[in-house]
Structures are given as C-alpha cells and as structure tokens.
Subunit: 337 residues, 2 copies
C-alpha cells in the first residue's frame, strides 16, 4: 500500500484496515511498533538508544526494524509517527532540543520520510502518550482531559476542547514544573519547589534518604531493601516497604499524596478537565496514591472545577507513546489527505 492509498475516497474504511508505525525515542531506549487503527500493538521491538550514532544512525535502526524485526506486515504501514523525549515543533517536525540525547535542531520528520519513504509526524513523547490515552486508552471519547505521568520525572499532556495543547514552542503540558512550594526543594530543572521535586520518583527517593538519615532506626526496613546504603534508597524501595506495612514508608506515601493533590488542585483549577488520567511508574508502583490524593483534590479545588471531574488510571502503560505517535500520524495525515 502506498501513502496515496490512505487518501482514498473512503478514508475511514482505508484507515480501519491500515497499519501505522509508531516510534518512541527515549533517553535510554527506542521502541518501534506496528499499530492498527484501534490502537492495538500488532508487533513491537525495543533496543537501547545510542545517542552517539546520531539521527542518521537512528534512522538506519528504524529502517532495519521495519524491514526485519516487526515482520513483513510492517512494510505495508501507511505512515510513521514518532514521539521523542524533547521539544518538538509539531508543525514542521523539527526536534528543537532533546536534552537526554544532546541533539538540537534536527529535521526528524524529513529524515524519517526519506528513510522510510512514507509520510511522517514527529511530536514530544509525553504528548504522544497523552494522545494515545485520549484516542485509545482511558480518555477515549472525552474532549477535555489532562494526563499526569509520574515516573522518575513528572510529565503531562493536555487535550482541551478536543485539541492537543502543544503550546507556542512545543513545550505545553510540563505539569511536573508547576510551583508547589514557593522557594521549596531544589528541582532538576533550574527552579525550586516544583511538583516534580516532591512527587517524582527521584524526589521520593531523596525524601526517603533524608528521612532515613534523620532517623536510621525508624528506616531500618527501607535501608535494608537498599542493601544497607541510605543513599541507594529509591522510590521503588519505598513502594515495596509501603506494601508490607512499614510505617516510615506509609508516612512518605501519605505526604506524597498530599503534595500530589496540592499540585493537581492547580492543574484542575487551571484547565477544568472532565477527566484526569494518572499514570507512570510511581503510580503503577503505588496506585493507592490515587485513592489518597483524590479526596484531597476534590476538597481543595474549586467546586466548579471538580463537579464534573473523573479521576482514573492510565490504561496503556508503556505502550502509550508508540500507540499515540502512530495514532497521531494516522489522524494528521488522513486529515491532510
């Protein structure tokens, strides 16, 4: 099937059958997937990112995947959508900056189109995950959603009035960096007091390390999980200890939920979504955070902002970026066709 065929007189019929490629380029791994029109991953492949091989190396890897590990069906994909951990101009498909890869001003869309000989779209990976949850996951059919992905860092994505909020320079949805405590904890961005500096996985680890250093005897169980090293404590150790009833872990999780609720109050008052979708490794590891945070969110946000709000878990897990990137390509290219 050539790209032209996707623009047939019956695009919906064509779209239903058509397969699309999704590529998720992170700081440590590249995931390539073949995705159908329902957002189902038909085949996928993962390998480590090698930033030193440059964008051309990335293209060679993807091309090899399409001709090989994704199976023969992949050669029939009508288009390709990429999500990448960085700032992207969605209109031109130019990667402005990817801090983890050290790449700047790379015309990824043009490179992808050349490498795979089919139309392409490029977007930020968290925006891709948001698109995926919106079109095929927990947000299906809802016009106003906000996704907050709490992993090592905290990222977010916004769909407002049925439109993905990319912002002026592609950086829209950086919900991990709303101020939560003016002048508070140092964040990995250059600011202080961001939401991420309290609830991101790295921050939970730091808070746990501080608590353990303050009171080692109360932290015995958590320290043991970290091989006896306070500075090796991570959010995963806290989560494990929490699920076995450890009291320090319980306090840390309760505090994390309180910070999360305070940050989400601002997000919900700002955007008044119908649906708030929470995902990412920290939420997957400790889904109780949602049950702990939601009542506080409802109590503290403006009544008008929560009266129609639903809060739910993300549904696509790690598939969200590839599914979203593929779905975005399908949608944008069909609309243009």
């Amino acid at each position: 099937m050539t790209p032209g065929e996707a623009r047939s007189a019956q695009p919906n019929v064509g779209a239903k059958r058509a397969l699309t490629l999704g590529v998720d380029v992170g700081g440590t791994k590249i995931r390539t997937a073949l995705v159908d029109a329902d957002g189902t991953v038909v085949a996928s492949h993962r390998h480590p990112t090698d930033a030193t091989e440059g964008p051309e190396g990335l293209m060679a890897d993807i091309r090899a995947c399409v001709g090989g590990c994704l199976g023969v069906e992949a050669t029939q994909a009508t288009s390709v959508g990429m999500g990448i951990a960085g700032q992207v101009d969605v209109g031109t498909g130019v990667l402005r900056f990817a801090p983890n890869l050290g790449w700047r001003d790379v015309p990824l869309k043009a490179l992808l189109q050349d490498a795979l000989d089919r139309p392409a779209t490029v977007m930020n990976d968290v925006q891709a995950a948001t698109w995926g949850e919106w079109r095929h996951g927990a947000g299906k059919g809802v016009h106003d959603i906000v996704c907050v992905f709490v992993g090592t860092g905290v990222g977010g994505g916004i769909v407002s009035g049925g439109q993905l909020v990319t912002g002026c320079s592609g950086a829209g949805g950086e919900l991990g960096h709303v101020t939560l405590v003016e002048g508070g904890r140092d964040c990995r961005c250059r600011n202080r007091g961001c939401l991420e500096a309290y609830v991101g996985g790295w921050a939970i680890g730091e808070r746990a390390q501080e608590a353990a250093a303050d009171d080692p005897s109360g932290a015995e169980s958590i320290i043991a999980r970290a091989g006896g090293l306070v500075r090796a404590i991570t959010a995963a150790h806290v989560s494990d200890a929490y699920h076995e009833g450890d009291s320090l872990a319980s306090r840390l999780v309760t505090e994390t939920a309180r910070f999360m609720a305070a940050g989400l109050v601002g997000v919900v008052n700002t955007l008044n979504p119908c649906l708030l979708i929470l995902g990412g490794g920290v939420i997957e590891g400790t889904p109780e955070l949602i049950d702990l945070a939601e009542p506080q969110l409802r109590k503290r946000a403006l009544a008008a902002a929560v009266e129609q709000l639903r809060v739910t878990r993300a549904r696509l897990g790690g598939d969200a970026p590839v599914v979203g990137a593929a779905s975005f390509a399908r949608t944008v290219l069909l609309e243009a066709g």
Copy 2:
C-alpha cells in the same frame, strides 16, 4: 437590521458594518455597551447591580438601556453578548452559578434572546475579557495567550491554538487558584496557599496589615494613609506608599512580585503561551510588578517554555469584558450563520 441579515452572502462585509451589544454583569455593577467590529466602544452605560431584582429585572434593565441610554444606533445591533461573574455553560448559555449574585441555573441566553429579540451568547466575564484582549487588545493575532487579571481577586483566561479554553464545566482559567505554597495562607476559596492568597488585592491588604501590626513604627506612612487604622489598610495604600518611596511598601511589592513570578512559572510551564498578558487593578496600580516579576519568571521557568514568550500589559482595561462579550457574540453567531 434583523438578525437574519448578519447571515448574508457576504458575512465579512456585514460584520464590518454591524454593531453588537456587550453586557458585563458583575457583583456590583452592570455595564452595557455598543461595540463595533473593530472592538471600539461606540456608547456605554453603567449602573449598580441589584441582585434582588432577579434575572427578569436584569433583562428589563438591559432592554431599557438598548432602547434608551445607548442611543438609537443600539436598536440596530445584530446580536448581544453577555459576560457574567459566574460559571457558565457556553454551549447552552445557561448560568450554572454566580456566587456574588446568588443565582443558580438561569437560562440567560434564552432570556436575553427573548428580551432583546436578537441572537445572544453568554460566557464567564473573565473569559470574555480574555476574548476581548485576544481579538482587539494586547493579544491580537496571537494563537496562544494567557491572561492573568490581578484585581481584588485573581482571574485568568487561556486561548490555546486559537481556541478559548472553557473547560469541562465552564470553569477553565481559574489561575488565581493554582497552589503556590502547599499548606500556606488561607484563600477566600476553601483552599490554602493559592496564588490569589498572596497577590490578590485583598491578600496584599492582609499581608500589609500583618506587617503593620508586627512593626507599627515601620508602617507609619501606610497606616496614616489608612486613616490610622491598621485593619483599614488596602492594596491601594501600599501602592501609593510604594510610589512615594516607602520602604515597607517597597518590601511588600518586591514580595508580591516574587509570589507572582512563582505562580506564573507554573502557568507558563503548563501552557507554553506565546504571550502572557497581565491586567487588573493591582497591575494597573503598580505596573512595576511586571518589571519585577518578568526576570524571575524567565529565570525560573523551563527554557523551552519562555524562549518565545512575550509578557505585556492588558490594553483594554475595564472595557475588556464588554468588548470581548460583544466580539464573542459576533464571532460565534457569524460562524453559526
């Protein structure tokens, strides 16, 4: 001219000539204006709000105005747009709740159409002001803007990708109620630590009163302006004292700018606007707040979120809600026609 004529074969020509009515219903005053296609207020009238007379009384007031104080031209207005201090379902034109008036579930659009015998739209007043600044004020021609109006309270409005963000239940843009200090100062909403609780006019007054109570001798100049009564100190007294070089006022303004910047960091990281428009009585009284806050905002927000950001003052002042409401009616009704 009848409503039907606005839907002529050449809508743009018709629109250019056409006049539209704008109505701004606040807690204390009603403003009615005749607005042309360029957003110029041709005639306007203001009178106090009497919530006890109910929605029917409001309609009678507006009808009297159109037939009288706004001049004979007003009878030719093709449509009417209302902005009201409350939560509005823009689609149906039903006022869900107006806390200042104590009104709930009032079908204002239908009432307006009946009263004035022409098509109407109804929206939240701050969203109307945002629309006004976007179409005819400081935000003209820009697709991604955020307005923050710092008056007694703090309100906001968002245009993302050329679309007004109203949210799921009409409450989008409540930027005064983003969390700034988790567990911080009591806000007039039911939460603590909101941006408004630090930079709203009432909060600046409270902070000044606290500073004056702590150190009356250092606050002599401000206390004198308030007639010798610490509890009578307002944001206006602080502003006046600041402009005459008072040191406590200077400290208060510096702190207000720091809080404002911290709140705006979250707003800008969330939405990545091209343009941030600051208005409202506190900004108009102390425009230096922008110069003090902007460098901190640029330093503390994500680089990608500010690299294309401009910050500017609102241009329409108190006209913004009537101009925006009128312009919104014109746009929506022409598009529908």
